[in-house]
C-alpha cells in the first residue's frame, strides 16, 4: 500500500497500459508482438496495481476460479482453431480467402493490412487470453505467498 499519489496515478494509467497491451495482441500478425507480448504488457499493468494497492485488494478483483477458467479456455480455443484445419492438415490456415482475416498480403514492402493472416490473429487472441490469465495468476500467487498466505484452489 503506497501513497495516494501513486494509487491515483496507477488508477489512471492502467487503462492506457491495457489498451496498449490489447493493441499489441491485435496487431500481432503484422507488427512485432503477439499474444504473449501483449499479454505480458497487460500483466505489467496488473503488477503496477499490485505494487500500488495491496495483494489482498487485488485478490478480490481477480478471482482464482475466473482466472483458471479464462486460462483454460484460451488454450482450448487455440487448440480448437488448430484442430479446425484437420480436414486438410493440423494447423492448416482455413480462413485464407474468406472475408474474416482472409486477404493475402501484397508481396514486398507496403503498409500492413489488419485483415490478413487467417487464423493467426484469432490464435493471438487465444494466446493473449491465456497469458493474461496465467501470468496474472502467477504474479498474484507470488505476491500472496510472500505475504505469508496460502493460495487455495
Amino acid at each position: 500500500m503506497l501513497t495516494k499519489i501513486v494509487r491515483t496515478v496507477a488508477n489512471q494509467l492502467i487503462l492506457f497500459i491495457v489498451i496498449f497491451g490489447l493493441y499489441v495482441i491485435v496487431h500481432g500478425h503484422i507488427t512485432p508482438g503477439g499474444g504473449f507480448q501483449g499479454g505480458a504488457v497487460v500483466v505489467s499493468g496488473i503488477v503496477m496495481l499490485l505494487v500500488a494497492f495491496s495483494s489482498q485488494e487485488l485478490k478480490k478483483l481477480l478471482r482464482e476460479r475466473v482466472l483458471s477458467i479464462v486460462e483454460s479456455s484460451g488454450a482450448v480455443i487455440f487448440i480448437g482453431l488448430a484442430f479446425a484445419g484437420i480436414g486438410t492438415v493440423f494447423f492448416y490456415n482455413l480462413l485464407v480467402g474468406t472475408p474474416i482475416f482472409g486477404r493475402v498480403p501484397a508481396i514486398g514492402p507496403g503498409p500492413g493490412d489488419i485483415w490478413t493472416g487467417g487464423v493467426i490473429p484469432l490464435m493471438n487472441f487465444a494466446v493473449g487470453l491465456k497469458v493474461i490469465a496465467g501470468l496474472s495468476a502467477v504474479v498474484l500467487a507470488l505476491a500472496l505467498f510472500s505475504g505469508g498466505e496460502e493460495v487455495e484452489e
Partner: protein, 522 residues
C-alpha cells in the same frame, strides 16, 4: 480409419494437450466426469499409438507436416529445404511411444485414488496430461527446436508434479533440484541447437543429418547434447539429482518420470545415430557411453544396497538399470562403422539395450507403484519402520514379487530375456562388460530381497493394524504393467521381431529417416 492413421502423429500429441486444458473446466463441475475424460483420452491415445505402430511396420516412416496442404509435403514447392514444423515417426520413435502410452495410462489410473486425499487434483491431472504431451512430442518431433520445447514442457510439468504434495518440505526440495537441473540441461541443449543452426541454417533433423560436416563446432554441440541428455537420464556421475527428485514425487509420477528419462535417452540416441549418424567418430563416442554406462550400472546398484528409503532405493536401481541400456547401445555405436562386427554382435547388443528399455519401462514403474502403495497407508517411505505388510497387502506383495524377479533377471521373467541378449553380445566386444553386468544383477537381487524382507516379511506389526489393501484403481494401474510383464515374458521373440529389431535398424541406418523428409539423397 485411414485418415485417423494419417493424422495420428499429431493427434497423439494434441489429444492429451486438449484434455489437459479441458480438465480444469470439467473438473469444476464433476470429479467423476474429469476422471473419465483423463482415462478415456489416454486410452484413445494408446489405441492410436498401437495403430500407428502397426502402420509403420507395414508402410514405413510417417511424416506429418503441420500447416501444409498435404501431410507429406515436407518440402514446399519452390523450396530446397524443409521449412515447416515436421513430425517424423519411425520404428524407434514409435517404440518409445508404445512404452509411454502404456505407462502413462497405468499411471493415470493409479493416480485416481493415490492422490484422492490431496487438494488441487484438477491441477494434478492437467500437469499429468501436459507431461504426456511433452513426452510424446519429444519422441515424435522431427526438428531440434521442438525437441527442446517438448523437453521443457515435460520438465516443467514433471517438476510441478514432484512438488505437488506441498505439505512436505522434501517434495519442494526435490522439485527444485529437478527443475534447476532440467533448466540448465535444456538451456545447454538450446545452445547446441544454436551452434548447429549457425552453420547449417536449419533445424530439421533429417536435413541437418544430410548436410552435417562434423566441424569443431559440431563436436562441441555433440558433447553438449550428449551430456545434457545424459544428465536428464541420470547417468553417473550426473545422477546425483535423480534419487532426490524421484523419491519424493507421488508414486504415479515417479513411474512416469522414469519414462521421461527414457525419452531423453531416445533424444540422445537420435542425436548420435541419426543426426550425427554419417559423420560421428563412432568408437570414441561409443566408448564414452560404455564407460559411463559401466559406472552407472555399478555405482547405481552399490548405492541402492545402502539405502533405507524405499523410493530412494528403487531410484538408485533405476539408475543402475539405465546403465545396461547405455552399455548395450554404446557397444552398438562403437562398432557402427564396421559392418562385419555390427552383424555379428553389434545389432544384438543394440537390440538387447533397446529391449531392456521396454522391460525396464514395465517393471520399474510397477515397483515404484508398489512403493507408493506401501506409502499410501503406512505414511512412511522408511524401510526401517516397515514390516509384516504382506499380511495386509496381498496384491501389492504379489506384484512386488513379479517386479523384483523381473528386475533381478530371474528366468523366466522378461528382465532375463533382455539381459541374456545383452550379456551374450557384449561378451564378444569385451568380457568385462558382461562380468560387471552379472555382478550388478546379483547385487540387484540381493538388495531387493533385503527390501522385500524388511517391508513385507515378518510378523504383523502392531503399528500397522489399520493398514489395508490399497484401493482398486491403484491395483488396476499396477496390474496393467504386470500384465505387460507377463506378456513380454511369454513371447520375447515376438516382441523382438515386431518392435525391437525395427527400432534397432532405424538407429543403425539413418538413410530412410533422412530420405523420408528430404526426398531421395542426391
Amino acid at each position: 480409419m485411414a485418415a485417423l492413421i494419417t493424422h495420428s502423429p499429431i493427434l497423439i500429441i494434441v489429444i492429451p494437450l486438449l484434455a489437459a486444458f479441458l480438465t480444469p473446466l470439467i473438473g469444476m463441475t464433476s470429479r467423476k466426469a474429469r476422471n473419465v475424460l483423463v482415462v478415456v483420452s489416454l486410452v484413445f491415445v494408446a489405441f492410436l499409438v498401437f495403430a500407428l505402430a502397426r502402420d509403420i511396420s507395414i508402410n514405413g516412416i510417417h511424416v506429418y507436416t503441420l500447416g501444409a496442404t498435404s501431410p507429406d509435403l515436407s518440402i514446399p514447392t519452390g523450396f530446397m529445404v524443409p521449412v515447416r514444423i515436421i513430425l517424423e515417426v519411425d520404428g524407434m520413435s514409435v517404440f518409445f511411444g508404445i512404452i509411454w502410452a502404456i505407462v502413462s495410462l497405468a499411471a493415470a489410473i493409479y493416480s485416481l485414488s493415490h492422490i484422492a486425499s490431496e487438494t488441487g487434483q484438477n491441477r494434478f491431472f492437467t500437469l499429468l496430461l501436459l507431461m504426456v504431451t511433452g513426452g510424446f512430442g519429444m519422441m515424435f518431433t522431427g526438428d531440434l527446436f521442438n525437441l527442446f520445447v517438448f523437453l521443457e514442457i515435460a520438465s516443467i510439468a514433471g517438476a510441478a508434479l514432484i512438488a505437488f504434495r506441498t505439505k512436505f518440505a522434501d517434495t519442494q526440495e526435490g522439485g527444485f533440484k529437478y527443475i534447476v537441473v532440467s533448466a540448465i540441461a535444456s538451456l545447454m541443449v538450446l545452445f547446441a541447437i544454436g551452434l548447429l543452426y549457425a552453420q547449417y541454417n536449419s533445424l530439421n533433423i533429417a536435413y541437418l543429418a544430410q548436410v552435417i560436416q562434423y566441424t569443431t563446432l559440431d563436436k562441441i554441440a555433440l558433447g553438449l547434447f550428449l551430456i545434457a541428455f545424459a544428465m536428464k537420464t541420470g547417468m553417473v556421475p550426473l545422477h546425483l539429482w535423480f534419487p532426490d527428485a524421484y523419491s519424493v514425487a507421488p508414486a504415479s509420477i515417479t513411474g512416469m518420470l522414469v519414462i521421461t528419462s527414457h525419452a531423453c535417452m531416445y533424444a540422445a540416441f537420435r542425436i548420435c545415430f541419426t543426426l550425427y549418424g554419417g559423420v560421428i567418430n563412432a568408437p570414441v563416442v561409443g566408448w564414452i557411453i560404455i564407460i559411463f554406462g559401466l559406472l552407472t550400472m555399478f555405482v547405481g546398484v552399490t548405492m541402492a544396497v545402502f539405502q533405507k528409503d524405499v523410493m530412494r532405493f528403487m531410484s538408485y536401481h533405476a539408475i543402475s538399470q539405465l546403465g545396461y541400456m547405455w552399455v548395450g547401445v554404446g557397444v552398438g555405436l562403437a562398432v557402427l562403422g564396421n559392418p562385419g562386427l555390427l552383424a555379428t554382435y553389434g545389432r544384438d547388443a543394440m537390440s538387447g539395450g533397446i529391449f531392456h528399455i521396454l522391460n525396464h519401462a514395465l517393471y520399474k514403474p510397477l515397483l515404484f507403484f508398489t512403493g507408493g502403495a506401501l506409502f499410501h497407508y503406512t505414511g512412511t517411505r522408511d524401510l526401517t519402520k516397515m514390516g509384516g505388510l504382506a499380511h495386509k497387502m496381498k496384491w501389492t506383495t504379489i506384484l512386488y514379487i513379479i517386479g523384483t524377479l523381473s528386475i533381478s533377471g530371474i528366468p523366466p521373467l522378461n528382465g532375463f530375456s533382455s539381459k541374456i541378449l545383452i550379456y551374450e553380445s557384449v561378451y564378444q566386444f569385451n568380457p568385462i562388460l558382461t562380468i560387471t553386468g552379472i555382478i550388478v544383477s546379483i547385487l540387484t537381487l540381493a538388495s531387493f530381497t533385503k527390501a522385500f524382507h524388511s517391508a513385507f516379511m515378518g510378523a504383523e506389526l502392531p503399528e500397522y493394524k489399520e493398514v489395508k489393501e490399497v484401493p482398486r484403481s491403484m491395483i488396476i494401474g499396477m496390474v496393467i504393467l504386470a500384465a505387460g510383464i507377463v506378456f513380454v515374458t511369454l513371447f520375447p521373440s515376438l516382441i523382438v521381431d515386431w518392435i525391437i529389431h525395427p527400432a534397432a535398424d532405424a538407429l543403425i541406418d539413418p538413410g530412410p529417416y533422412i530420405s523420408a523428409v528430404t526426398g531421395a539423397i542426391p
